[in-house]
C-alpha cells in the first residue's frame, strides 16, 4: 500500500478543525510550512483527524512531526515533546487516533515507527470561528521556526 506520496524523510502532519478557532492552528502551520520547506526534505499533510490510514505513510518516514492545539497550555505557549508508540491499547479506538496510537499502528502493521515529535501550541479559543486568536497568531512564527529547525535537523543527520 502506498497511496500518500511521502518519499521525503520528514512527514509533517498539522491537524484539527479549522472551523473551531485555535483548533485550526495545525492547518495554519502546515499550510505555511508546505510553502517554506523543501519537498525533498518534508511532505506536509493537513488533516481534520488522525486517521488509521496515516499509519502507512508514517512508517515510511524517518521523522514524523505532529502539530496540534492544546487547551492545557497557556495561550500561545509552544511545547515540543517526543512521542513514542502507545504501549497500551485504547479500547474505544475507532476511526481516529492519537499520535502515539498511529506510531503503534505504523510499527505493528507496517514494520517501522519513526522517531516522532509533537508540537503543541496553547489555545485561547475553541469557539466557532475560521480564524485564530491573537495570542495564537502571534505565537505562530515561533512555532514555524521550531518545526523548521526540527526538519532541518534531520537533513543534518542525512548529510
Amino acid at each position: 500500500m502506498k497511496s500518500i506520496a511521502t518519499d521525503a524523510p520528514v512527514l509533517v502532519i498539522g491537524y484539527g478543525n479549522v472551523l473551531r478557532g485555535d483548533d485550526g492552528v495545525g492547518w495554519a502551520a502546515a499550510r505555511s510550512l508546505a510553502r517554506r520547506l523543501p519537498r525533498r526534505l518534508a511532505s506536509v499533510l493537513m488533516v481534520h483527524q488522525l486517521l488509521p490510514e496515516l499509519a502507512e505513510p508514517i512508517s515510511r518516514a524517518t521523522r514524523a512531526i505532529f502539530i496540534d492545539a492544546d487547551e492545557r497550555l497557556e495561550p500561545g505557549q509552544v511545547c515540543r515533546k517526543i512521542v513514542q508508540p502507545l504501549d497500551r491499547a485504547d479500547r474505544t479506538i475507532g476511526h481516529h487516533q492519537s499520535p502515539g496510537g498511529l506510531l503503534r499502528l505504523a510499527r505493528d502493521l507496517y514494520g517501522h515507527a519513526p522517531e516522532a515529535l509533537v508540537f503543541s501550541i496553547g489555545a485561547a479559543d475553541f469557539d466557532f470561528a475560521p480564524t485564530l486568536s491573537t495570542q495564537v497568531r502571534r505565537a505562530l512564527p515561533g512555532l514555524l521556526r521550531s518545526v523548521a529547525a526540527a526538519v532541518q535537523d534531520v537533513e543534518g543527520c542525512h548529510a
Binding site: 500500500m1 497511496s3 481534520h48 488509521p52 491499547a89 474505544t92 479506538i93 475507532g94 505493528d108 502493521l109
Partner: protein, 474 residues
C-alpha cells in the same frame, strides 16, 4: 424484587447511548430501552438560511457519512429548483455516494465489529479491540485500513477533500471530472475488489462459529424498506421505494420517495432523543421495519453487478423469505462493498463520465422539495420548505439509524433475554447486547443530528425504579 440493568456507554458505535434492561422479580429481562442521549437540532438552526447553503450545511450533520447528507440535501434542492440534473452529474454523485458506502461499511466491519468476530464475544476485553485485530490478524487490519482509504480517496478526488466536501450543489456538481482523476480512481478499485472478496471469504468461515448469535441478535419478523431501480435492482442514489415483509413478499413497490410521508410517520418516546419512525399502515409500534444493507439485500430482485449478484444469490439462500437476523448485516455489508466497487468501475468506464455539462442552473421554482438516497445505514430523507426568497422555513430529516430504532430496541431485548440472567450482567453478555446494536452500525450523530462518539451505559432497574446495577464504558 424487579430491577434494572444499565449499560452506559455503548462502545464501538458512532455517538452516545445507554441501555436500560428491566428485570422482574425472578431476575429475568422483561423490557429493554435503547436511549440516545445527545441532541443538536440541525432541523431548527437551518431555518432562515438560503437553500444554496443547505448541502454543505447538512453535510456537517456527520463526520462519518457527510456524503450521504450532501447527496440527499442536493437532491432536495434539485427538487426546489425543479430541475433534472445532467446525467453525468447524477453519475458522479452516484460514484461519490458509493465511495462513501464502501468506506463507511469498511469502518463498521473492520474497525468496529471485526474484534468480536476475530476473537469471540467472550474474549478478554483488554484484547478485544482494533489493536487486538492488528496483533491477531495484521492482514485483516491492513485490508480494513486500505479499503477505507480507497473509499476516502475517491471522495477526495471528486470533492477536493475527504470530509465535508462542498461538491454536490443544487442542480448538479461544481466541477466536471478530469481524465487523470478518473484514471486514478479506476487504478485503485481492483485492489479494493480483491480485498473485499478475500474478506467476504474470511467472514463466511468465521460466521459459522456464531450460530447462537445469529439466532438471537434481533432475529424476528419485520418489514424491510429501501430504494430499488425501476427494474428492482440494488440502488443507492435514486430509484423508488419498496417495502417487503418478512416472507420477502412485496407490500409497496415503485412508490415515489418524495411521498414518503404517506408511508411513514414518526413517534417519540420520553427516554430518547432519537425518533421512532414506523410504517403507518400497521401503526405504532407494530409498524416496525428495518433499513440498511440487510434490508436492501432482502428487497431487491438482483444487485446488478456480476460478483455481487453471485454473493447475493448465496446470501438469500440462508433463509426462505427475507433473511431476518440482524447478525447478517455484517454479511450484507461486505456484499455491498463488492457491489459499490463494481458499480464505481462501471460508471467510471462509461463514455460520458467526462462530459463538461454537470450543472443545471435555475432559481427556486418550488416551495417544497424532498431528496431521498440510500446512506450506508439505510434510507435517508431530507425534506425542505422555503419561502419566496429561497430561504429555509422548515426541514425534516429522517435518518437511516432512526428507521432502525424500533428494531434496535427489540433486538436488545431479545439478546438480553438470551444472555442476561440472575440480576447481573457478565462481560460477555454486555458485549453481546452492545453487539446487537453494532450490527446496525448506528450513527447517532446523524440520528439526532448531533455530534459525538458512542460510548455506552447499561442500567438494571427494579420495579420500584431503583438502579441496582450499572455499567459505564468510555
Amino acid at each position: 424484587m424487579p430491577r434494572d440493568i444499565v449499560i452506559d456507554p455503548v462502545t464501538r458505535i458512532e455517538g452516545h447511548a445507554k441501555i436500560t434492561l428491566k428485570l422482574n422479580d425472578g431476575g429475568e429481562v422483561v423490557d429493554a430501552m435503547f436511549h440516545v442521549t445527545q441532541f443538536r437540532g440541525f432541523e431548527k438552526f437551518c431555518e432562515g438560511r438560503p437553500l444554496t447553503e443547505m448541502p454543505s450545511l447538512m453535510a456537517r450533520t456527520c463526520g462519518i457519512c457527510p456524503v450521504s447528507h450532501l447527496t440527499a440535501s442536493a437532491k432536495a434542492c434539485d427538487a426546489l429548483l425543479a430541475v433534472k440534473i445532467p446525467e453525468t452529474a447524477a453519475n458522479l454523485r452516484r460514484v461519490m455516494n458509493l465511495a462513501q458506502m464502501v468506506q463507511s461499511h469498511a469502518l463498521s466491519f473492520f474497525h468496529l465489529s471485526s474484534p468480536d468476530l476475530l476473537m469471540g464475544f467472550d474474549a478478554d476485553p483488554a484484547k478485544r479491540h482494533l489493536f487486538g485485530v492488528f496483533q491477531e490478524n495484521p492482514q485483516l487490519a491492513r485490508d480494513g485500513i486500505r479499503v477505507r482509504q480507497i473509499g476516502q480517496t475517491v471522495i477526495e478526488i471528486l470533492g477536493g477533500k475527504k470530509i465535508h466536501p462542498a461538491w454536490a450543489v443544487p442542480g448538479g456538481v461544481n466541477k466536471p471530472l478530469l481524465a487523470d482523476d478518473r484514471d486514478k480512481m479506476l487504478a485503485m478499485l481492483p485492489e479494493a475488489l480483491e480485498i473485499a472478496q478475500r474478506t467476504l471469504l474470511w467472514y463466511k468461515r468465521v460466521a459459522a462459529s456464531y450460530t447462537q448469535e445469529a439466532r438471537t441478535f434481533a432475529n424476528f419478523p419485520t418489514l424491510f424498506m429501501g430504494l430499488v431501480t425501476d427494474t428492482g435492482g440494488l440502488e443507492h442514489y435514486d430509484g423508488l421505494l419498496r417495502i417487503v415483509d418478512s416472507k420477502g413478499d412485496i407490500l409497496i413497490d415503485k412508490f415515489p420517495p418524495e411521498r414518503y410521508h404517506e408511508l411513514i410517520a414518526e413517534a417519540v418516546e420520553p427516554y430518547s432523543f432519537m425518533k421512532f419512525p414506523y410504517f403507518k399502515e400497521l401503526g405504532y409500534p407494530q409498524g416496525i421495519y428495518r433499513v440498511g444493507p440487510l434490508a436492501r439485500l432482502n428487497l431487491v430482485d438482483n444487485c446488478g453487478t456480476p460478483i455481487a449478484d453471485q454473493e447475493w444469490a448465496e446470501f438469500r439462500q440462508m433463509q426462505r423469505g427475507a433473511v431476518l437476523s440482524s447478525f447478517h448485516y455484517h454479511h450484507a455489508r461486505l456484499i455491498e462493498i463488492i457491489f459499490g466497487i463494481e458499480m464505481m468501475q462501471r460508471i467510471l468506464n462509461s463514455p460520458d463520465i467526462l462530459d463538461k455539462k454537470v450543472r443545471a442552473r435555475a432559481r427556486p421554482n418550488r416551495l417544497e422539495g424532498v431528496g431521498v438516497a440510500e446512506a450506508p445505514r439505510g434510507t435517508l430523507i431530507h425534506h425542505y420548505r422555503i419561502d419566496d426568497n429561497g430561504l429555509m422555513v422548515w426541514a425534516n430529516l429522517i435518518i437511516a439509524t432512526g428507521h432502525n430504532n424500533l428494531a434496535m430496541n427489540r433486538g436488545v431485548l431479545q439478546a438480553a433475554q438470551q444472555f442476561v440472567g440472575g440480576g447481573k450482567i457478565s462481560e460477555g453478555a454486555l458485549n453481546r447486547v452492545e453487539a446487537v446494536i453494532r450490527c446496525y452500525d448506528p450513527c447517532l450523530s446523524c440520528a439526532t443530528h448531533a455530534l459525538g462518539k458512542m460510548p455506552l451505559h447499561i442500567e438494571l432497574v427494579n420495579s420500584g425504579g431503583e438502579v441496582v446495577h450499572e455499567i459505564h464504558r468510555d
